[in-house]
């Protein structure tokens, strides 16, 4: 572990903290443009965070320590995820802390805490949201794991950094299995980030909301942390998708020049990804909650197909 590696690791975390609300704002702006609405300011998420941090926390009477602890746990999990995923460089001192399977576990831990907190106060909406979140989560996790297994078979390793190194810095080969895995990953990330086909991030309609239903009881800095964590999750998933399927531009090792190139590449890729996300969200309607298992079942199916195709077509390379 070198000092410069550690510095770049810290820089990547700070970058994640700074860029995540911007990504959320950018997606919201693109969505508004595509839907012919006047767009909210790009920096609105920052203003929201600032406002919420200044406000006092109002706690429900029945709130237990879990309720107060959950926002910090969720925020910590998302920050750890952002630290593990190779955003700028594959030389990450934190990377050995967790491989991709543990990464899925980190997301799972955050989900458990936020669901517990939602059920803690005992309102009907919180419980409903928590249960729906667990339904979506338990279907999304196996699909995500299958996607990761496909990639792990290509790279012969479950470490994210090794997978990215294998895919980015090797002779160009077309992997048909990656196409399947990419589609499955897109499905899963829409479900996990409460985007349109499964949940609508912009609604407070009680019949349909999942994520919003869980955080209704939160206020002040707790709400700010949860909103920031949601932005970080979107950022982490976008970066994971970019790192696994479009790894070009991520620096290998800690050469200063490579990292300088990696930053504008990352911003450009995230900007394009945000436009695509908004486009898909605009073109699709939210499905009923009972269709969500079918949506995620399809994701799982694509991931398994990717694995099978990998075994059939690419095992004799």
């Amino acid at each position: 572990m070198s000092i410069s590696g550690l510095l770049w690791q810290l820089f990547a975390i700070v970058l994640a903290l700074a860029l995540a609300p911007l990504l959320t704002g950018w997606v919201n702006q693109c969505r508004a443009w595509l839907q012919n609405r006047s767009a909210p300011p790009l920096l609105l998420p920052y203003y929201m965070l600032h406002k919420l941090f200044l406000k006092d926390v109002v706690l429900a009477h029945g709130a237990s320590p879990i309720f107060r602890f959950a926002p910090f746990a969720v925020f910590g999990c998302m920050l750890l995820a952002c630290a593990i995923i190779p955003v700028l460089s594959t030389d990450l001192p934190f990377a050995p802390a967790a491989d991709t399977i543990a990464l899925v576990g980190v997301f799972g831990l955050a989900r458990i805490f936020i669901s517990l907190a939602a059920m803690d106060v005992g309102t009907s909406f919180g419980t409903l949201g928590g249960r729906r979140e667990m339904l979506v989560g338990f279907l999304a996790e196996p699909a995500l794991l299958m996607v990761i297994f496909t990639l792990a078979m290509i790279a012969q390793s479950t470490s994210v950094a090794t997978i990215v190194e294998t895919l980015a810095h090797r002779e160009f080969v077309i992997y048909p299995s990656l196409a399947f895995a990419g589609i499955a990953f897109t499905f899963v990330s829409f479900a996990e980030n409460a985007r349109v086909p499964v949940d609508n991030p912009a609604t407070h309609l009680e019949l349909t909301m999942i994520h919003e239903a869980m955080i209704l009881e939160y206020s002040g800095r707790h709400l700010a942390l949860i909103e920031w964590a949601a932005s970080l999750k979107l950022y982490a998933y976008s970066c994971l998708g970019l790192a696994l399927f479009f790894p070009w531009g991520i620096a290998q090792g800690d050469s200063f020049l490579g990292l300088l190139v990696a930053i504008p590449m990352l911003v450009a890729k995230l900007a394009i990804g945000g436009v695509l996300l908004a486009l898909i969200e605009t073109l699709n309607a939210k499905v009923r909650i009972f269709r969500a298992p079918e949506f995620l079942g399809t994701a799982f199916l694509f991931a398994v197909l990717g694995l099978l195709v990998r075994l059939l077509l690419e095992s004799r390379v």
Binding site: V173, I174, P176, S177, A179, F180, I183, P293, E294, G297, T298, L301, F302, V304, L305, L308, V309, L311, L312, L313, E314, R316, V317
Partner: protein, 218 residues
């Protein structure tokens, strides 16, 4: 592995993907569009095989596939749907997630069955034999699980796509005469089935082929 072999594998994977998409599709018009897309992918894949191996007759097959399966048949089916006014959702007999699970099992079986066969073959595209077999099985499954007439016909045509892919991957395609014969058969089949559709609808006021299960006079 050479670039052309990679391309062939990629196209084969896309064909498998489209076969699953058709299996999951609830709307008739989208189903036909997916079928057209599958035909286009098949034509591209055949073109790559033809270019790589220099087999002249495969260019003919690719052109035939393109004209027939990506343009002509979808156009006829679109016309039929419009004339019959059947833009409703397809009603599968089994629920879609169950169908998909059965589909995965079929894929595993076909991959296993095809693996020893494809090892005997020496063609550049031998790896795709498993996928070809899987698409035949999936199209067959689609015919079984659908109760309306038009999805059944699309399933039948998709099965022919799978057979064509199998022929190309195992032996660089069938002789031109056979291929022309099959193409003509499929075309005539669709036209005759189109006539049938009108007859079925006139008789039962519906295209649900479950009505055909009891044809006896009461």
């Amino acid at each position: 592995m050479s670039l052309s072999a990679q391309l062939i594998n990629l196209f084969a994977a896309v064909i498998l993907l489209l076969a699953f998409a058709m299996l999951a599709q609830r709307r008739v018009l989208t189903l036909i569009n997916l079928f057209a897309l599958q035909g286009l992918t098949l034509a591209l894949s055949t073109l790559v095989v033809a270019f790589t191996t220099g087999q002249a007759h495969l260019y003919g097959s690719a052109a035939l596939t393109l004209v027939l399966k990506a343009v002509l048949l979808p156009w006829i089916l679109h016309r039929l749907v419009r004339r019959l006014e059947v833009k409703w959702d397809v009603e599968p007999l089994i629920k879609v997630p169950t169908t998909m699970l059965v589909g995965i099992v079929l894929v595993i079986i076909s991959f296993n069955v095809a693996l020893p066969i494809s090892q005997l073959s020496s063609t550049i595209s031998r790896g795709t034999l498993g996928i070809a077999l899987a698409s035949v099985m999936l199209a067959f499954l689609m015919m079984i699980t659908r109760s309306k007439a038009i999805p059944q016909v699309v399933g039948f045509l998709a099965m022919e796509n799978g057979l064509f892919l199998a022929a190309t991957s195992a032996t660089y395609g069938m002789p031109m005469v056979v291929e022309l014969g099959i193409a003509l058969d499929v075309l005539v089949g669709v036209i005759i089935l189109g006539v049938f559709f009108f007859q079925i609808r006139d008789q039962f006021d519906s295209l649900d082929i479950r009505h055909l299960e009891r044809l006896k006079e009461k």
